[in-house]
């Protein structure tokens, strides 16, 4: 009983201290930004962290703390609580799960630490966070569908390689794509799960290619899976099947340059944009609630513009 009370007291004291620091901070002083990623091993997250660190290197007054949620909502929640205890000035977070992490908003609010959400949304009232920086996954799905429909002349079977079931990106990339494809009655979409992974995509793609001989195109919810599909298509000499992925990272650049992929929808890493927004929030500048970044279609023609 006594120990619990002590812990509680310590926690309260830390919160109080944190809020003192937080209110006293401005971008001119030394500021600490807590960057919370749901995981740090996926290529997309790795690229984001790298770009965030590059940004921090150019801002000597900023200390950037990168925290890993280890693909686990409970772990990520604990990590955010630790950041609050450490008294960071602002938290920039992509929730592992939109709903599971909702208590974060309440905790941060109590500690008077502003919250910037990026990439995945947080299912709370918009007044509970300072800003959101993201891209529209549904729109990306639609772009991919439009691109493929035009490529294959409005008919045929399209294989969809889905990402991790239940993730909001998966749901939206699927929804946008299928909605758009529903407008082309001659096109049939069949779905397989590749968990955003190359190895899983190769395995299901082999089965998919066996079950749907003469399929017209492949849509992967990310570039790793699209690359896996391209591998199978090449191995089996299935000819020039258009394959489109999402993310537009290194894999896409190489794949499009070599001709293995037809296109990729560029999904911004949200960095440095999310950190710029965070700095504005700290400076008490007004920022739009939602910053939606562009998601252009990446093809051979505009490759040079997005691949460095």
């Amino acid at each position: 009983m006594n120990r619990t009370f002590k812990k509680l007291a310590a926690g309260l004291a830390a919160c109080a201290m944190a809020s003192l620091f937080a209110t006293g901070a401005s971008a001119a002083d030394k500021v600490t930004i807590g960057l919370v990623q749901p995981n740090v091993e996926h290529p997309y997250r790795v690229a984001g962290v790298e770009r965030a660190k590059a940004w921090a290197a150019q801002h000597p007054n900023v200390e950037l703390i990168v925290v890993d949620g280890r693909r686990d909502s409970a772990v990520q929640m604990a990590a955010v609580e630790d950041l609050i205890q450490r008294g960071v000035d602002i938290i920039v977070m992509s929730p592992n799960d939109s709903k599971a992490l909702t208590p974060v908003a309440e905790t941060a609010k109590r500690a008077k630490i502003p919250l910037v959400i990026f990439d995945r949304k947080l299912a709370v009232d918009p007044s509970d966070y300072a800003a959101y920086v993201g891209a529209a996954d549904i729109e990306m799905g639609r772009s991919a569908a439009r691109f493929l429909a035009e490529k294959i002349g409005d008919k045929g079977t399209v294989i969809q390689l889905e990402g991790t079931p239940g993730a909001s990106a998966t749901l939206d990339r699927k929804k946008g794509f299928e909605e758009e494809m529903a407008r082309h009655p001659q096109i049939k979409v069949v779905s397989y799960v590749g968990n955003y992974k190359l190895s899983d995509a190769v395995a299901v793609m082999e089965d998919a290619a066996t079950a749907h001989r003469g399929f017209a195109a492949v849509y992967g919810h990310n570039d790793s899976m699209a690359t896996g599909a391209a591998k199978v298509v090449k191995e089996r000499n299935l000819g020039d099947v258009p394959i489109i992925g999402i993310d537009g990272g290194k894999e896409a650049c190489e794949g499009i340059a070599s001709g293995a992929l037809a296109a990729s929808i560029y999904y911004p890493t949200m960095f440095p944009e999310a950190l710029d927004v965070a700095m504005k929030v700290l400076d008490k500048e007004s920022v739009p609630k939602d910053t939606i970044l562009e998601t252009p279609v990446l093809t051979r023609e505009n490759l040079a513009q997005y691949c460095k």
Binding site: H42, P43, P165, Y192, K197, L198, E206, D207, A211, H212
Partner: protein
Amino acid sequence: MKHSDHTHRHGALGRIKELMLHNVAVTGLIVLIVISTMLSPHFLTVDNIFNVLRQWTMVGLIAIGLTFVIISGGIDLSGGAILALAAVVGAQVAPHVGPFGMVATVLVVGAVCGYVNGAMITWGNIPPFIATLGMMTIARGLALTISEGRTIPADLPGGFRFWFGTGYIGPVPAPVLVVAIVFCLAAVVLKYTVWGRYVCLIGDNAVGAHRRGLHVQRLTREVYTVHGILAAAAGLFFLGRLGVGEPTAGMMFELSGIAAVVIGGTPFTGGIGSVPLTFVGLMVIGLTYNILNLLSVSPYSQDIARGVIIVVAVMFSIRRLSSGKRRR
């Protein structure tokens, strides 16, 4: 000892019934193949079957190691993570040490991981479940650290890619041939060598084995080392097939491997088991994945079907064993 004697009296029908009951995994596999063939015209084709075999070479190698581990009375959860570590290390060292050096390095890494598992269990007295759970986390962490979380593209010579991934000998994929040889060797080792029988003995009666004068602890370390080497070999097949070292490779492979072993009738209590039946268990799982994909079953409900099939398969295997431990 042979409790099946009485069934002989029931004539041919009883004989068939007995055969089917004593080989539940085989019966299940045949039923699965027959049903699948009726459901999809693409199922029973040479291409498709060899594809499935190639897809499951990696889990197959881990399952062989697990057969020995589980027979010896243990369990090993680190197979998938050792696979990832092996693939990442292989991709990292390939440009520097040549294909043979790379294969050797990778197998040594696997052997070390496996030996450490055995050492933790025998010297540290850590229960195998916990020791290998630790190794699973450590190996995965090492893979992520070495690769800095990235997928490492490996520039591998054509000969390596041929035997470990993309080659064909006639209609047979080369990696399937290699793993088939490993399966045969393992079956012979388990059934016809003294070492194989010792492994059964320490799983059946560790105290008895000790009193007989066997070095139970050393045998245990050897069994886990073999598992480590086989899991690392699976990493080589990952490299050969995909050409990259992916630090998140092989997740849940150990669980598919365990399921294959148990469907094959090897009980968790150890003492008995069979490598060929592990292969049958592996195929039950592999063909289940395949037919669900071929039928374009909604990916979300596929998991339900897989889970049910695994549980039912194990239920029948265990029921057979409940009538007494029977050595094959």
